[in-house]
């Protein structure tokens, strides 16, 4: 159900990732866990979509990546929000908020 809703809101994966990285840099698995934990499992982003989004965001210059060592001692790829990514997050959140506002206004009056 949650996944269907997410599929409808194309592009929200990107916002979620940017939002997640706005706290600290993380590897892909960490991002997946973080999103799932914060939404109490309601927003279980499909892993394939997550990685595709990460690489797409990196190409667009919104995130940067570098290799590091994880807390379990393995090599992992860490993603960091770039200044451009931070700006993108802000404008997308604002856009989403406005969109949702309009959506709910319509739903409530109906």
């Amino acid at each position: 159900m949650a996944q269907t809703a997410l599929g409808l809101l194309q592009g929200t994966v990107d916002v979620l990732i940017l939002r997640t990285l706005s706290w600290t840099s993380m590897h892909g698995y960490g991002i997946a866990r973080w999103i799932s934990d914060r939404s109490d499992g309601a927003l279980a982003v499909e892993d394939a979509a997550l990685y595709q989004a990460l690489h797409r965001l990196e190409r667009k210059g919104f995130v940067d990546s570098e290799w590091g060592t994880s807390d379990t001692g393995h090599r992992a790829k860490y993603y960091t929000l770039t200044p451009a990514g931070r700006r993108q997050l802000k404008s997308e959140v604002a856009e989403l908020r406005q969109y949702m506002g309009v959506l709910f206004r319509v739903l409530d009056t109906a």
Partner: protein, 889 residues
């Protein structure tokens, strides 16, 4: 979710390969799956079920892998581009700043580069226009020029008689089209009347298939068809672009218009394209040969006046074509007495025939400018080396800040390229001016001079040459400057021994520079000496103060009876002009025409030689011609008015004739035969050079014009002072006899002689110019290296002086170093010159390419210049105050 930075990966390489990208993605996804499996096991799932669950939760793994790879690859490409563009921008910025901050260096380097690249561009534009650009008709390499050859008389490139040509054209299988034309510079003209000033215009008279052989395009109308070139239907003319613009103001409706030429209307059929001027740059029209009546030019086998061209049949080679015409010639020679000896032909591709004479001089010039540019490059490389030494701290800082060696070399080479390209742009500007000068100077002397221009190809060449030059002089110092451990420079402080390392390389560059200069100067010396020899040639006539007027009498206007009277009246009227001392006329001026060739039978000599048949050059002259030209009479008498057409035919011969055919006896009073006519020799005149200044006089016989009338008049007017001051009076005198008489040309005899040496003069002038440039650069090079060495060795010299070294010893130290460099350079240069000047052999007159005097002079000049260049830094070394020098830093 904290992390410890991985020290090995912290400083990631800017660019990843495709393989690297794929590996990174695999590792990233594997990490993810491993963690998910761990998590599921921790929740109590069995291992294999956890793996299945992890895979299913992930979704489409393969697609994601491909997707991520594509994204990453694209990103790598984009960063690579932006990095390169950023770095290039940076380099250009540094380059311009570096050039601006080098006020002494940049202008000198730019000036020498502009000269070097300009000279190269200008000469290349000439080479391209004259030698490289194709002739303006299809498949020009299939078109050949054909000459008749008489091996026994050593006449290899003779024109062809009309009967011979007709036989060839009828029989040939190897040519798809064979044609002939009559053109003679200044000779094959016609009178244009009816529009504006009457004028003698220059044309070629062709056989019907001429335009089929060459197949050029007309820009307006069309060319003349074979059926329009047959007697009875041949009053057609095709015009050159030059004539059309000059006389008809580029009238686009010219086709169908009638022009009055030699008093007869000719219909204009077309106007050729600007590039088509075959067979000569200065041509006004083409018309069918059938318009020249048989009276004007003899059509018998002995009258060789046609130039033959042919287009090879498909598949035929020039050798096959040669064999075919040669065997036809042999058959004719056996059958016809008048063709005896004419058993061979000579053939050349038409392009070679047109420009063959200038190919070698142009190649010599191209080589010379190449040398000038090389010297320029070496010179700038030496300057850059010195600068690199001074800039080592800057480079060291840059290196310390993380710039790699490749990056620094790239930056230095960018600087050099910027320098070279700016120099190249200035050079092109110089070349534009230079080409204009060359075009003017070369017009009429250089074949295809109209083709010389600066176009896209020439600009591309200039760009290529500039880039190459930039790489040549930039790469070596850049590699050199970065080869040392730059970090040590920072520690070494502001001075130290850094400079001396580059000094050896600079010395080598100076040696190279001097060697190149020697080759150039030797070439210039040889050309100058050759030119001097040409000027020293005694032509056998006195060229000063002679006005030279050329005109053609319109035969049909006067008819056979009155034409002699008219001819004499012209001479008499000119002679009456005040200040005119003597007037004479001949069919051809010296160096402008060779007269005619005639079969002649010479009687057996007193020594018992048998009677023999020869071909002899004859020239038709008026009685006073020799006096007007300043040619001495050696024996016998000159012509008088009594030697008329109805008087017994008489000849005057030159000394070469006397020596060849009447050795050890006087020819005066002897009788020779031309066909059935017996001719008595009445006098001998001094030899003079008729064909060219470089060829000694051949045997000549002179015919008094009334006894064998010719319509072409070359009138020599000896005057009391500057002959050009008499030009108007002489013209008026001519027009006082006939208002409508056209005058082909008025100039001075000195100018004719000057034209004959124009090409060697141009070659010598340009080579001297390039030689001086090379010499100056070489001397500057020596000076630069020594001045720098002295400034570097201040302390050492100071110590020497303090320890009691005499000024003499200091001088010897510095000058000795300079002369050593010069000596090695000169030796290498002489060896190179001995090897390279051999290509000049065919362009030199009376000078061998190994001329010892020239080589000796060059050695003295070069060493002298080196001495001066060493003297100045040596004097500075003398002024070094030991106390100050030792204290200095």
């Amino acid at each position: 979710m904290t992390r410890t930075p991985d020290p090995g990966r912290e400083f990631r390489f800017a660019w990843r390969s495709k393989r690297q990208v794929a590996r990174d993605i695999d590792a990233e996804l594997a990490f993810h799956l491993a963690r998910r499996v761990e998590e599921l096991i921790a929740r109590g799932l069995p291992a294999d079920e956890a793996r299945r669950e992890a895979a299913s939760r992930f979704g489409n793994l393969e697609f994601t892998r491909e997707y991520c790879r594509a994204e990453d690859d694209r990103r790598e490409r984009e960063t690579r581009h932006t990095t390169m563009i950023d770095e290039l921008k940076q380099d250009l910025f540094y380059a311009l700043r570096a050039l601006r901050s080098a006020p002494g260096f940049a202008p000198v380097a730019l000036l020498t580069l502009a000269l070097g690249i300009g000279a190269n561009t200008a000469i290349f534009s000439v080479v391209r226009g004259v030698l490289l650009s194709p002739l303006p008709f299809p498949e020009p390499d299939r078109v050949v020029r054909v000459w008749h050859t008489n091996q026994s008389e050593n006449d290899l490139k003779s024109q062809v008689s009309e009967p011979d040509f007709k036989e060839w054209a009828a029989a040939t299988k190897r040519f798809s089209s064979l044609s002939a034309y009559w053109y003679s510079s200044g000779g094959s003209g016609a009178d244009l009347t009816g529009i504006g000033m009457p004028e003698r215009i220059q044309g070629a008279y062709f056989t019907p298939t001429f335009f089929e052989t060459l197949r050029p395009r007309a820009q307006i109308g069309r060319t003349i068809r074979p059926e329009e070139a047959i007697e009875g239907n041949d009053h057609y003319v095709v015009l050159s672009d030059g004539f059309w613009k000059r006389r008809l103001a580029g009238d686009r409706n010219v086709v169908g218009r009638a022009l009055t030429i030699n008093g007869i209307p000719y219909t204009v059929v077309g106007v050729m394209e600007p590039g088509f001027t075959y067979p000569a740059d200065r041509i006004d029209f083409w018309m069918p040969l059938s318009n020249m009546g048989p009276d004007a030019i003899g059509r018998e086998r002995g009258s060789r006046f046609l130039d033959v061209i042919g287009r090879l049949a498909p598949g035929a080679t020039i050798q096959q074509a040669h064999d075919e015409l040669a065997s036809l010639s042999r058959l004719t020679a056996e059958r016809e007495p008048a063709a005896r000896g004419w058993t061979d032909v000579t053939m050349l591709p038409v392009h070679d025939a047109l420009v063959g004479d200038v190919r070698r001089p142009l190649i010599v010039l191209l080589g010379a400018v190449g040398f000038v540019l090389l010297i320029t490059c070496v010179n700038i490389a030496a300057l850059l080396l010195a600068r690199a030494t001074a800039r080592q701290r800057e480079l060291a800082v840059r290196s310390a800040l993380g710039a790699g060696r490749g990056r620094i070399i790239r930056q230095l080479v960018t600087e050099s390229l910027v320098l070279a390209l700016i120099g190249g742009a200035l050079g092109v500007a110089l070349a534009v001016a230079g080409v204009r000068v060359l075009g003017t100077v070369g017009a009429g002397d250089l074949p295809r001079a109209t083709e010389i221009r600066i176009d896209g190809v020439v600009l591309l060449y200039a760009l290529g040459v500039s880039t190459l030059a930039g790489l040549i002089f930039g790469l070596l110092p850049a590699i050199r400057a970065t080869s040392r451990n730059l970090q040590s420079v920072l520690r070494a402080g502001s001075r130290g021994s850094v400079g001396n390392a580059g000094q050896g390389l600079r010395a080598a560059l100076v040696v190279a520079e001097v060697a190149l200069a020697v080759v150039l100067v030797v070439g210039a010396g040889l050309a100058t000496k050759s030119f001097g020899r040409l000027l020293d040639v005694d032509p056998g006539f006195k060229a000063n103060n002679v006005l030279a007027v050329r005109l053609g009498i319109a035969y049909e206007r006067y008819g056979e009876e009155r034409v002699r009277g008219y001819y004499q009246a012209l001479l008499d009227r000119i002679a009456a002009v005040p200040g005119v001392q003597a007037v004479g006329s001949a069919k051809d001026f010296p160096l402008r025409g060779a007269g005619e060739l005639r079969p002649l039978t010479v009687p057996g000599s007193a020594r018992g030689d048998a009677e023999k048949s020869v071909r002899l050059a004859v020239l038709h002259v008026s009685a006073d011609y020799f006096r007007a030209m300043g040619i001495p009479l050696r024996e016998g008498r000159t012509f008088t008015t009594a030697d008329r057409e109805d008087a017994p035919p008489v000849w005057i011969v030159n000394e070469a004739f006397a020596k060849r055919y009447f050795p050890n006896e006087s020819p005066v009073g002897k009788v020779v035969r031309m066909g059935p006519v017996a001719i008595q020799i009445i006098g001998v005149v001094g030899d003079f050079r008729q064909k060219s200044l470089t060829e000694p006089a051949e045997p000549y016989a002179y015919i008094h014009y009334p006894q064998n009338m010719r319509s072409g008049m070359s009138i020599a007017v000896r005057t009391a002072g500057d002959p050009l001051r008499y030009a108007n009076a002489v013209r008026e005198a001519i027009w006082s006899v006939d208002r409508d008489q056209t005058i082909t040309n008025v100039e001075t005899l000195s100018a004719i002689v000057g034209d004959n040496v124009a090409r060697p003069r141009l070659l010598a002038t340009l080579l001297v110019l390039f030689g001086v440039m090379g010499l100056t650069l070489g001397v500057l090079g020596i000076y630069g290296v020594l001045a720098y060495a002295v400034s570097q060795r201040r302390q050492e010299i100071g110590v020497r002086v303090a320890l009691g070294a005499t000024p003499r010893a200091v001088l010897r130290l510095v000058i000795g170093q300079g002369m050593l460099l010069a000596g090695i350079g000169v030796t290498a240069g002489i060896a190179g010159a001995l090897l390279l000047t051999r290509v000049m052999a065919t362009v030199l007159y009376d000078v061998r390419t190994t001329d010892p005097a020239t080589f000796a002079t060059v050695v003295v000049v070069l060493l002298g210049a080196a001495l001066v260049a060493s003297w100045l830094p040596a004097r500075r070394a003398l002024r070094i105050d030991p106390v100050q020098a030792l204290r200095y830093d």
